[in-house]
Every structure is written in C-alpha cells, then in structure tokens.
C-alpha cells in the first residue's frame, strides 16, 4: 500500500517537473552572471517551452505558460503581458509544427527553433523599443538568441532523458 502511494507521488512529481522548472527559471532568471563571462546569456525558458510543447504539451499546459510569462515580466521589469505573448507564440509555432510534421526530425526542430526565437525576440525588441520606448541593446538580444540556439541540443539531450523517465513512470 505504501509503495503504491510512493509510486503515485513520484508519478505526479515527475509529471509536474517541467512546470516546476518553468516557474523556477522565470523566478530565478538563471543567468550565470556571477561567472563574469562578458556577453554570455541564454534563454532557458524558450528552450524549455519549445521542447515540451513540441514533444508533449500534456506536461506543460498553456495556462501555466501564460502565468510564467507574467511572472517573468515582473521579475525582469518589462511591461506585463509581453513575455506571455511571446511564450504563447512559441506554443503556436510548436502546435503548428506538430500538426504538419509526421516524422519528427532533430535538425528540422533545431532550425524551426532558430526561426521561432528570432521571430519572438524581434517582436519583443521592436515592441519594447518602438511601443514602450525602452532602449534595448539589439546586439545582446542577438547574442542571447545565438547562445540559446547553440545550447538547444544540450538541453534537448537532458530533456529527452527526463521525458523517457516520466513516460516510463506514468505508463507503469
């Protein structure tokens, strides 16, 4: 009986792990700035949302993504709603990709990810600069997008391992 309860607990913990990571990363803004690497930054949240909504949106629902965006805006200090909009656009792209792609392929996903982050970062930069008159460093956004794109395979490898573990536990 106790082992049954333990299994259910592990199952639900694993099931909510992507949401936990999402909120942890928007609250914490994992940035490694204390390493003092000039210009190094990447957007972990973009990778997380793209992967989980493309692979299996059951683990990361759109409502949580919307709230995570609101939290991110408050932490970072940009107009509220902007990150939610951008995160949901990533979801729209992944939902579209899921509908048109029959056999998933890593290279296709990676290129789609690049196009997606370039699109949403452009929307974010343009709206901050033109609509909200907040001066932004375009080069830093580009570098951020570059590192996010480069680090995508590393996180995909880790997320694949996690996804398999979750799938095994939830199918038991």
């Amino acid at each position: 009986m106790s082992s049954l309860n333990k299994n259910t607990l592990i199952k639900s913990l694993l099931f909510y792990l992507p949401i936990f990571f999402l909120f942890l990363s928007v609250l914490n803004e994992i940035d490694f700035n204390y390493l003092k690497i000039e210009n190094f930054s990447f957007n972990f949240v973009h990778i997380l949302i793209f992967y989980w909504t493309l692979k299996n949106p059951r683990y990361l629902n759109y409502g949580s993504i919307f709230f995570a965006g609101i939290v991110n805006d408050v932490v970072v200090g940009i107009p509220i709603g902007l990150s939610s909009f951008c995160y949901l656009l990533i979801c729209a792209v992944t939902a579209y990709l899921r509908n048109i792609i029959i056999t998933p392929n890593f290279i296709n996903d990676w290129i789609s990810f690049l196009i997606t982050i370039l699109l949403i970062n452009s929307i974010q930069v343009v709206s901050l600069d033109i609509i909200f008159s907040i001066e932004v460093d375009y080069m830093r956004y580009l570098i951020n997008s570059g590192f996010t794109f480069i680090l995508y395979p590393v996180f995909i490898f880790l997320f694949d391992i996690l996804e398999k573990k979750i799938a095994i536990q939830t199918n038991d």
């Binding site: 609250l27 940035d31 204390y34 107009p79 939610s84 949901l88 509908n99 048109i100 907040i134």
Partner: protein, 285 residues
C-alpha cells in the same frame, strides 16, 4: 495547390483553436488575454496599479526565495575567488592604505572648510539614508535593475538615489508597498548629469547595458583635456535628482584611443545591501 492551402488553414486552425492534451484554454484565448494585459498595463488606472503592486509584491518575494540556491553558489564562487587572490589583494591593499592615509588628512581639512563655507552662505545639505537589502539582482539582457526590500511604507519615492558604500549605483523607478525597483546606472535607459573632475566639465553619463558607462553631451574640448589625468565622475546635482558630489566612476586615460568609457566604482554583480538616499538643500535666505 488548393489542397496545400487547405492543409495550412487546417493546421493553423487546429493549432490555435483546439483544446487538446488536457489544455483548459485554447491558445487563441490566451494570446488575446496577454494582449489585453499588455494594453491594460499601459494605462494608469488606479485599479490596475493596485493589481500590479499586488502581483509585484508576491513575485518579488517568491523570486527572492527561488534565488536562494543560486545565490549560495554565487557567494561560494566569490569566496573561492577571494581566497585564491588573497596574497595579491593584500599587497595591493597595503599600498592603497598608505596612499589613503595621506589623502584622508587633506580630506578632513576640506570637509571642515566646506562646512564652514556652507554655513557662511546659509546653505545646508540634509540627507536621509535608508538601508535596504537587495532581493532580486538579475543581469538580464532586458533591463539592468535590482529589487529592494523597502517600499512606500518606508517613505521611498521614485527618483531617490541608490548608493553602495558611498558610490552611486542607480535610482528608484518603481515603488510598491514593501519593495521597490531601482534602475542601475549601467542600464541603457539610464542618463544622469555628472561633473568630471578635476577638469571641471559637466556632462551626461549614459549606461551601455554592459559593465561600463559612456560620457555624452559635453563640450568638444573634453577629449583634449583627458590626456593628463585620471578623471573622476561625480554626480553634478543638476535637475535636483541626486545629491551633488556622489562618486560614480572613473575615466581611465591609459588607453590610447581616448574613448569616453567610464568604469563604475561599484561592482553591480555583488550588491547585497545598499543605501537609498534622499536629500534636500536648505537655504537660510
């Protein structure tokens, strides 16, 4: 041709409108909701302001708690770094201490003289300091800002200066009930009136989004005067925002290309506690 267009339309419709995979809301609904939030957020209605303050209070505190593990590693990294450089740092400090002791004597005299002169013209500078803890310190590519644990209940107001030891680091841009947000001087949107000493030139210091600032809007002969000395950048007090004479950074003239790069005195990545300073210049006349 027509069938491929139909496929595209079906895929788009399915992506935006269908609630599959245990989703409670459709994507289109949430996208519209986020657009409504953006539009409402740009209005200054009282109700929206209260909601914003409430959300900020909760999120800032949660962010502080969520950052504890990362902050632990950050502190550990700094401690290791300090231990590794202990001997070199000691030697540097020894030399610097000797120089500072000499300067202190002169400084004490100048402070007394300045006080007497201010009394002669009936001018007094009254300042109030409030110590605050840095709750959130995120070096994001968007805004260079910090969140402090003092807000409107501690009489914090927009525009107050933030000082680390005696160095200016930023100003308050948003005030909530128990916390506030300060924009760092390194942010792209930061522009502060400064005085360059000893060449005695007024200028504007702009943030660059990096760990240095640049001098803008000043006299053309400014670069010619740079050649001789190390230039210290102080707040000029123009505009009445900051107390005059707060040190901000220095322009090192070692580099041959004579760029107008200002290295800040304070390391913004290691801010734990800061002072929020408000000041008032009183006149007896």
């Amino acid at each position: 041709m027509a069938s491929s267009r139909d496929d595209f339309v079906i895929a788009i419709r399915s992506a935006f409108l269908k609630k599959r995979y245990q989703q409670k809301f459709s994507l289109l609904t949430l996208i519209f909701l986020s657009l409504i939030v953006i539009v409402l957020g740009s209005f200054n209605f009282k109700a929206i302001q209260y909601i914003k303050i409430g959300v900020n209070e909760v999120v800032y505190r949660s962010s502080f708690v969520a950052s504890i593990p990362e902050n632990y590693f950050k502190d550990l990294n700094i401690t290791i770094d300090e231990h590794l450089n202990l001997y070199d740092q000691f030697k540097k400090n020894e030399i610097e201490l000797k120089k500072l002791k000499e300067k202190k004597l002169l400084n004490d005299f100048l402070v007394l003289e300045n006080k007497k002169l201010r009394e002669l013209i009936n001018e007094t500078v009254q300042s109030e300091d409030v110590f605050a803890k840095v709750l959130v310190d995120k070096d994001s590519p968007y805004l260079k800002s910090i969140v402090l644990n003092k807000g409107s209940k501690d009489n914090i107001k927009i525009g107050m200066a933030i000082v680390d030891r005696s160095y200016l680091v930023g100003k308050i841009i948003e005030v909530n009930y128990t916390n506030s947000r300060a924009l760092l001087v390194s942010d792209l949107n930061s522009k502060i009136p400064v005085l360059l000493e000893p060449i005695d030139i007024h200028a504007v210091l702009s943030g660059t989004g990096k760990n240095h600032g640049v001098i803008e809007y000043t006299k053309d002969e400014y670069k010619e005067k740079l050649s001789s000395n190390e230039i210290i950048v102080y707040t000029s007090g123009y505009g009445g925002l900051f107390k005059p004479g707060l040190p901000v950074g220095k322009i090192s003239t070692n580099n041959l290309n004579k760029d107008n790069k200002v290295n800040f005195f304070s390391d913004f990545r290691q801010l734990d506690y800061v002072k929020i300073v408000s000041y008032e210049i009183g006149s007896g006349n």
